[in-house]
Amino acid sequence: MGYLGFLLYGNLVLILLLYLYLYKIRKLIGFQLGMNISMLAGGFCAIATGVILIYQFPLKFVIITMITVVIGMMIGGLFGALFDYQTLLTGYINGLMMGIMAPMVGAAANTSILFLFFIEAVFLLSLLLVFLSAKNT
């Protein structure tokens, strides 16, 4: 359980790579797809971050909820700011809601490793879906 920080770091690097790719082709994406991209990226990044952080520090629930909310808000807002002001608002509010929810889910899962793998798989699948849908638009 001591190496979960590397997993968080890998997630952030993947998110950064996806952001750079989307920044390059942002003129080709309409606002409907932009809204869905910002919701998906912000929400699932907030869930993965919250679950990993609450596994790592189970004694600091309040501060981890605040950090997760801020990370979800920032990532949803950044992905939405590629397109429009209203996609920024959509990504912001979705990342905020998912970020409040995520440490609770992680604490209720009782540090089971299987749940962490499942969350990581869902996160990677959502990133892959975002990449494919942005490529084929």
């Binding site: 909310v69 608002l89 912001y92 509010i93 905020l96 409040i100 929810m101």
Partner: protein, 156 residues
């Protein structure tokens, strides 16, 4: 330590902020497009109803079933009010996000007040009141940040 005056004050501040938001948006409602109305109703009502339900649960922590029904009705009403400014599409978005937000707020309040629900360690029972104060202030800050972004969107 007696905490209910703090929560009553926070509920009053939030209510004033929500009323002011509704008033400003009511004056500007002819300017909205469909899409902005939907985004405005969804984001405003969800965070506002979540914070309101959380503070209500901190204030009356006894009957969680009755309180959940009450706060869901309040949240759905607020979502309907915000959504009814523009069109029926935004009314649906506001209603769904308002009720989801208030159900989630009741859940957050219950977990903060009774940490054994989520299997959190027993060290939390020492500073439940501290956590309640922190969560109330943090939720109010989130409401202010969201409404600030929404007011700023009127002049973008």
């Amino acid at each position: 330590m007696e905490l209910s005056p703090l929560f009553i004050m926070l509920i009053l501040v939030n209510g004033l902020m929500g009323f002011f938001f509704y008033f400003v948006m009511y004056k500007k409602r002819k300017l909205f497009a469909d899409r902005f109305g939907m985004v405005m109703a969804a984001s405003g009502s969800s965070i506002f109803c979540m914070n309101l339900a959380m503070l209500l649960h901190f204030l009356f922590p006894f009957e969680i079933g009755v309180l959940a029904i009450l706060s869901t009705v309040i949240g759905g009403g607020i979502g309907l009010l915000y959504g009814a400014l523009v069109r029926f599409q935004s009314l649906l978005a506001g209603f769904s996000h308002g009720s989801i937000g208030s159900i989630m707020g009741t859940m957050v309040g219950a977990v903060v007040e009774n940490p054994a629900l989520c299997g959190l360690p027993a060290a939390y029972f020492n500073d439940v009141e501290n956590n309640m104060i922190l969560f109330g202030l943090f939720g109010t800050g989130l409401v202010f940040a969201t409404f600030g972004l929404l007011f700023y969107s009127l002049r973008v």
